[in-house]
């Protein structure tokens, strides 16, 4: 029983990282109907931005005393801003010119951007994995036979906090409302005087910032980061978005948590070799049985 609880705990903390990344996929898809393949790379760059931010603030010098909390927050905000700028530039340089092209063109462009960022990162940061700086000193304690670490708890709390913030943003602010309007019907939103280009830019900025937060949390959780980490993690987050119902913000969170759980339970009870495969098995099952996702709505196909 305690192993099961342990796996569930680890799964939820990993899943909340997937959920943060999945939000970016789902928001962009909701508005542009584009699978932003480069989103996984934005997540990776976010993790590196956090790495360099923490190293720049002299994280190693704090030793056993630990990195002060306010500096950790500075690192988080720095990475989120870097990623937001990156996301907005990708949108402006690569996606905007092909926005009205047939659907495969932006998809291929997105794959190109993803490959470009991966390889540029290998050049810039070297392909070798790097140990993530100790932004948070790990403290372990036992709770009813389950080993809980402050890192896992922080991941969970930060992720939930950001998601709550996003929910507030989408429901309560003018920009959030405009985002929902653009997602429902881009042309109608434009006719109502919404600057759709600005809203699309804002969507990329918010989604990318969340991915960067996910990147830092991933670094804390997995200890190592490398330039190719965005591909597989990005794909899993995308599957999470599809599982929850792509375009649906709550679905992305649910999907992320479920994928994280499935992965940990597979690794724990079946074999760690299959932890990456289970995601794709889930994807295929969901696409066959319920292509609109768990919380998605069926839309009739228009001719």
């Amino acid at each position: 029983m305690s192993t099961f609880l342990q796996q569930v705990l680890n799964g939820l903390s990993l899943g909340s990282i997937y959920a943060l990344i999945a939000l970016g996929y789902t928001m962009v898809y909701g508005i542009l109907k584009l699978i932003n393949f480069a989103h996984g790379e934005v997540f990776m760059i976010g993790a590196y931005a956090g790495y360099f931010g923490a190293v720049g603030l002299g994280v190693e010098g704090y030793g056993a005393a630990g990195f002060p909390l306010y500096l950790a927050l500075v690192v988080l905000v720095f990475a989120m801003v870097v990623a937001a700028l990156l996301g907005v530039s990708i949108e402006f340089l690569a996606y905007r010119p092909v926005r009205s092209a047939p659907r495969l063109t932006p998809l291929i462009t997105a794959i190109g951007v993803s490959l470009f960022l991966q390889n540029a990162a290998m050049l810039a940061f070297s392909p070798n994995p790097r140990p993530y700086p100790p932004i948070l000193r790990e403290v372990r304690f036992e709770l009813g036979g389950v080993i809980v670490t402050n890192v896992k708890l922080t991941i969970f709390v930060v992720a939930i906090g950001l998601m709550a913030g996003l929910s507030w943003f989408i429901q309560r602010t003018w920009t959030g409302k405009a985002m929902r309007a653009v997602a429902t019907n881009l042309d109608a939103a434009r006719l109502m005087g919404i600057d759709t280009d600005r809203i699309i830019r804002a969507t990329f900025a918010v989604g990318s910032a969340l991915a960067a937060a996910g990147g830092i949390l991933f670094g804390l959780d997995q200890i190592m980061i490398n330039p190719l980490m965005g591909m597989l993690t990005g794909l899993k987050a995308f599957v999470a978005a599809v599982l929850g119902g792509i375009g649906n913000v709550r679905g992305a969170v649910l999907g992320g948590l479920l994928i994280g759980l499935a992965e940990q339970l597979t690794a724990g009870y079946l074999s760690p070799d299959y932890r990456d495969a289970i995601t794709f098995v889930i994807l295929i099952i969901i696409l066959i049985l319920r292509p609109e996702g768990l919380l998605g709505v069926v839309r009739p196909e228009k001719v």
Binding site: I111, M231, I288, V303
Partner: protein, 332 residues
Amino acid sequence: MQLVRRSAIAVALGVSLYALQLWLADGLIEYVQRIVLLAGINVILAVGLNLINGTTGQFSIGHAGFMAVGAYGAAFFGVKLGPIISGVIGAGALADGVTFNVALLIGAVLAGLAGLLVGAPSLRLRGDYLAVVTLGFGEIIRISFNNAHFLGAATGYFGDTPAGLPAYTSFFWVYGWAIAIVILIRNLTFSQTGRSLTAIREDEIAAEAMATPTTRLKVLAFSLSAASAGIAGGLFAYMQSGIRPEDFRFDKSIDMVVMVIIGGLGSISGAIVGGVFVAVTLELMRDLQQFRLVLYALLLIVIMLVRPEGLLGSRELPELIRSRLGRAKVSK
């Protein structure tokens, strides 16, 4: 009469391929020979992928998985059947040729079956979803080979002897298969079935309304496309002493997509040009090792921004030349 003419052409082609092979083996350094072989394999990959991505308008970015199935299938069965075939017809060049082609066909059938298995459920999906499913399947296939201990798992499959797989792959067989597959796919594309595939690309709902069995045709095109990737995989396997799961990573699928896109989605001659182009440029850029993939990705983005239809669009080269000549005459 036509049969006689066609067999004559086939024999002439075979003889000239063999002559070319002798000349190449003699005249070219090994490095160049390798590029020539890779170019031929790429042509098979590109023309096969173009059938589904170009002609039918579905989007697979997981074909490396089918290539892997073909490669492993051909390698495994070639190694196991080799002694049996030699036992029946006596060891020698003939037995090698028979073993090799039987192995390739087994690989192709297995890859085609894998295509059927993947295609049947997922081809009901459209566009970008299909892309992600194929990607996922490609990864599952690779992960499975990574864990298949009778196939060497992550270290790769090198046959049963320390010498590794026999070097069956030669210019003759690569280009013989390439020509056969190009002709097969060309004939399919310009047949009634091919027209239906194009109809699916242009407007699936309209095609369905015209009583085109869309799902069945998509699955057919997908399996054939997977089978040709399987042949390419088999040829690739016997080019080196062994194959590893890493040879068939996601990048390999992207390579194939790039070949088809450079040439122009939907154009067979374009796919041929793209396949050769990728083999040659990848080799030329080998000195730039770390910049190679960055440039490659930039190329992909620039093509999409500047000329999304690729070099030839969906036209064929002979048709293009003819129309150019025609225009020249008119202007006179």
